[in-house]
């Protein structure tokens, strides 16, 4: 495996620092502790995979970074700038942190091209004309030419995910927040999606915060895999994946990959059993 970087640029931004994140839902009533004392630092350009059982509070953490939910206490910094923290429980959503949703959120009433061009037009950073031109170019780069004028409903779910990631990258975000984006895909499509994501990553060097249930996916894609405890959520084990990038699917059969799987499987299984016993629901 060659270690020659395909990287066109080295990431200098997208340093995400979570300190003592704490989230209690319904503090006056049921007081469900979703995230407890969770600290995590993600380096610029790192692919950080978050693995944990259903409903463990991973998505709560993602929502706090994205600015959809507040934290009860704790601080999140992005490149030294405080997103949320003391005196500001909820971050402002912004185009520097873009979420790719579990069930996909391309606007079905806009064509793929209109979807990709949406961000810069809304922010007023490009004229609609410019935005469409850039969208066309960036779609071509990602191998999505020819479907600019289709609606998302006309293309396969795998391709939809790629369009959605391209829509995010169009805004030159510092961090991509992916919430189990490939969950609903079959394993064959998934493998294609993984390689496509890595290819896009090698070109863009964006920081990736990637939530998944799938340990194999996590080790294949990630620089590091953070295994979360079941609710309340905090890092239980952090695994550094020392298989060099760029990776392709041959990695899956390498002995090192198997070793890493074995090393983490137990920790993941333990939490899954705990979550199952606690009867946690998807959340």
């Amino acid at each position: 495996m060659s270690a020659t970087p395909l990287h066109k640029k080295v990431a200098t931004r997208g340093h995400l620092k979570i300190q003592d994140a704490h989230k209690v839902y319904d503090p006056e009533g049921a007081a469900v502790l979703a995230v407890d004392n969770c600290s995590l630092e993600i380096q610029p350009g790192e692919i950080c995979m978050i693995v944990g059982p259903s409903g463990c509070g991973k998505t709560t953490l993602l929502n706090a970074i994205a600015g959809f939910h507040s934290l009860t206490s704790g601080t999140i910094h992005l490149d030294g700038e405080m997103l949320c923290g003391p005196g500001k429980p909820k971050a402002e959503p912004g185009a520097d942190r873009i979420v790719v949703f579990q069930n996909g959120a391309l606007f079905p009433w806009k064509t793929n091209l209109e979807n990709v061009a949406f961000g810069p037009i809304m922010q007023g950073t490009m004229s609609p004309q410019e935005a469409r031109e850039k969208a066309r170019a960036i779609m071509a780069d990602a191998g999505l030419s020819g479907m600019e004028n289709n609606y998302p409903g006309e293309i396969s779910s795998g391709v939809r995910r790629r369009v959605e990631i391209v829509r995010a990258l169009m805004n030159d975000p510092k961090v991509l927040l992916l919430d189990e984006p490939y969950r609903a895909l079959d394993s064959l499509t998934k493998s294609v999606m993984h390689e496509a994501l890595l290819e896009i990553y090698y070109r863009n060097q964006v920081t990736i915060f990637f939530i998944t249930h799938d340990l194999e996916e996590a080790i294949f894609l990630g620089h590091r895999v953070v295994i979360m405890t079941t609710r309340p959520c905090k890092p239980k084990k952090i695994l550094t994946v020392d298989i060099p990038h760029p990776r392709d699917y041959s990695v899956l059969t390498s002995p090192r990959f198997r070793e890493l799987m074995d090393e983490t499987m137990e920790a993941v299984h333990e939490e899954a059993v705990k979550a199952f016993a606690a009867g946690e629901r998807e959340g």
């Binding site: 994205a66 185009a95 606007f107 806009k110 064509t111 949406f118 805004n171």
Partner: protein, 232 residues
């Protein structure tokens, strides 16, 4: 009961024994009057109901204040409004149009509001992520997202509009298809009643088709995504 032949002969007769056929100018005056009344009432219901429904769906505060009143007024049947409408408005036109407008307005408003509620939260979050402001989200996410429900509402609105129109015309007015049916009844003239009914069926069907055509042309994405037709 008259046979279909009697009705049909009357309908296409140049010299209709009961005085109503496609050759008598009154026939068209009745149709035109009804169509005009429905068009005005439906137009007003759409113009007021869609923005009102969007506001109810989009603003929590507005809904908290207004919706309870709306929900008390809505179940009152259009027919119950007839006496009040006749006393409130002068002439014969306004009461009939008001009676037609009312249920159409309720149907449009309610469906539009449900349309806003039906929009997946992810779309709104995605738009915020991509840097859209609240007003832009309203324009680019809420409005198109609610459109399928809005058009369902308009279909229902058209249906209940015709329904109440006929009720209104039977009670007040000297023209219109409801009046035709009612006068056919008072003169015990079966063919006139039947012609009135068949004509209502036809114009009702055409008006629904028009709403559907406008809907499909505004929502090409649905036609193409769901394979509802040849949208290429």
């Amino acid at each position: 009961m008259p046979g279909l032949t009697v009705v049909f002969t009357e309908w296409v007769s140049k010299n209709p024994p009961y005085g109503l056929s496609i050759y008598t100018p009154e026939y068209y005056q009745h149709v035109l009057t009804s169509v005009q009344r429905v068009a005005i009432a439906f137009g007003l219901a759409t113009l007021l109901g869609v923005p009102f429904g969007l506001l109810l769906g989009w603003s929590r505060k507005f809904k908290d204040f207004v919706f309870p009143v709306f929900e008390i007024l809505r179940p009152i049947p259009a027919l119950a409004w007839v006496p009040l409408a006749i006393l409130m408005f002068k002439g014969t036109e306004s009461p009939v149009i008001f009676i037609t407008f009312l249920p159409a307005f309720f149907a449009t408003t309610l469906n539009t509001m449900l349309g806003v509620h039906s929009i997946d939260e992810s779309y709104i979050r995605a738009a915020y992520c991509l840097g859209a402001k609240r007003a832009q989200i309203f324009r680019h996410v809420v409005l198109p997202g609610a459109l399928p429900f809005i058009f369902t509402g308009l279909q229902i609105s058209m249906g209940v509009g015709w329904f109440s129109l006929v009720a209104g015309e039977m009670i007040s007015g000297e023209y219109g298809l409801g009046y035709v049916i009612y006068s056919g009844y008072t003169l015990v003239s079966y063919p006139v009643i039947a012609i009135g009914m068949i004509t209502l069926g036809l114009v009702g069907w055409i008006s629904s088709a028009l709403v559907r055509i406008v809907g499909t042309s505004l929502m090409q994405w649905r036609v193409r995504s769901l394979g509802l037709g040849d949208g290429s």
